[in-house]
Subunit: 353 residues, 2 copies
Amino acid sequence: MATIKEVAERAGVSIGTASNVISGTARVSKARAAKVLNAIKELDYHPNEIARSLKVRQTKMLGMLLPDITNPFFSDIIRGAEDAALERGYLLLTANTDEQVEREKRFVSALRSRRVDGILLVAAASKSEAHLTGAVAAGVPIVCLDRIVPGFEVDAVLVDNVRGAQECVRHIIRSGHKTIAIIAGPRELHNARERLAGCRAALKEAGIKLSEDLVMQGDFREEAGYRLGKELLVRRERPSAIFACNGVMSLGLLMAVDELGVKCPEEIALATFDDLPFAHSFHPHLTAVAQPANSIGYQGANLLIDRVEGKRTGDPVIVRLSPELKIRESTRGYRPATPAGETAAGMKREMAK
Amino acid sequence: MATIKEVAERAGVSIGTASNVISGTARVSKARAAKVLNAIKELDYHPNEIARSLKVRQTKMLGMLLPDITNPFFSDIIRGAEDAALERGYLLLTANTDEQVEREKRFVSALRSRRVDGILLVAAASKSEAHLTGAVAAGVPIVCLDRIVPGFEVDAVLVDNVRGAQECVRHIIRSGHKTIAIIAGPRELHNARERLAGCRAALKEAGIKLSEDLVMQGDFREEAGYRLGKELLVRRERPSAIFACNGVMSLGLLMAVDELGVKCPEEIALATFDDLPFAHSFHPHLTAVAQPANSIGYQGANLLIDRVEGKRTGDPVIVRLSPELKIRESTRGYRPATPAGETAAGMKREMAK
DNA sequence: GGGATCTTTTGAAACGTTCCAACCCTGGAT
DNA sequence: ATCCAGGGTTGGAACGTTTCAAAAGATCCC
């Protein structure tokens, strides 16, 4: 590939001048500029960004570490981040950690070696560790997305998990359910804990005490949703509603429901945190807490770039975005076996107090 | 961040020696090596890959251009590519083209400037253009994934679209359908044309002549699936089966089916190219031609890296992967209104000749 | 015509590596 | 004692930019 030197030679100017017309740093006379531009075209010159990066000490690349790009929630985040990055002239270097801290460490190191200007992180680590603090100490800004790492104080953009879960469970309660099971996320994850807290809050405010055997300890994976869902559904006292704390667990849950021939929503109400992109095409249309995934990425990237470019300094900021409850058929049409004489309408009145 | 010079100073050796222990290029005495390793740890030294890239003229980065990461088919491809890349020490620089050639041009240029070692491309361009040929001419290997660009001769990994569509339509025919509508993909796209050809082949071999008004011209987007699906469903002579040529169009199609209250599979059989990851959790479980998306990415990346590293030279190779037909409920249980006296069994016998 | 003042242009150092020729030892052979 | 082989070490050029001080030209005014 052609170098700036070749361009300069062909245009009959010095390297410095060529550089100036390429980067617009300093004024260059029309005639010379035209010659340089011409040479660039003729040589199909592409400035060597590597050499430039070395000199100016910035790469215009951002690292992006997340559990798994295959999960639509994360791919939406990436898309948002990429859009913001692009607008501001950055490219994204992405890697999947599969929730493994070891992988995260390797990638953070690789990204630092590549001298990315900053890192967007959906953390696998659940506590502040050297690979994270070290990067920040060395001057590589990090912005956490979706999850916070306790003790690791950096900018973050999160959704209000408590509120999302709370509103959803509140809605379930309002639909007439009393025994509501929850398939929770991993205890180590801050957002999973928040979601569970939201569920508890909703139940508490409705005066329903949550028996602990209705809280199933999941891990945000499909298999857990399936296994725990099945466990719940075969109980002698089957709950009338189940809330899954993330999207992929709800997929497993749905399979369990199907397999056991339980009808949703007639026999069981289902709801989930995370809205799946195809919810409106398939049945049951799941009631879901939709997270603004694209915004998480978009705002996160902008936050990061502001930091990178020194447009913002000082204390970390935490942006909390609001999730949106999407009420769909999976929590509609449940008809609790009402005590004789009571009607659905009566039921509703009952709920209103 | 610390530099190799600082490491060398602290270890009391020359830069050359430090470099040798870091990269293992030449033998270094135990004692000195230990000192260097120690200094590296103490300084939290991360080799500057940028400087290294400049010198050795390779970045160990691969570019990846695709329409939209948000489409699960593509995110699976990325995941496969990333896995292969990682195994061989490369990182992926990803960007979304939104099927716009203009964006593709900009990105190819950006990637060349960044001196990626090669590019993985799900092309937006539908004919060979300078931004592609120019890159290859300049020594940046490109491997096409999923789609081929006519006239642009490079390595590629594709799925056998003809066969996939053919098998699926064949299956639909075997299930007793005679009026089968097809929602086709954009004419410019090579794979869309292949899929349509596969459909035609299946119909032809069954002796069914395809009336052209059963071929709807779509564009691989959800809205088209919805609009064209609706158009088909309100016809006085409604087809008994519809095949959508890609996954996202089938999402729109499903919405149309829902909206018009048509029952699948009882009143309409549905099938699609592209298997959606959630097909087994939601209804209707769609019969689908599953593409080995992960493999496309994995094999594509390996092909590319082989080229990059000079492990392979010479004529382009084209790898064709086999799709897999997943038969599910959406094409089962259709009971055509049989002429009096004929049974479903009779129907079947009829089909067998 | 000669400064003075701008505007343009140039040359060279620097960014952090790799890599190679040259050098320095040490020890064994002669 | 001298020479040689070979391992270990070093210095410095090179990679392709940017950037800045200095040089070179223009322009203008007296």
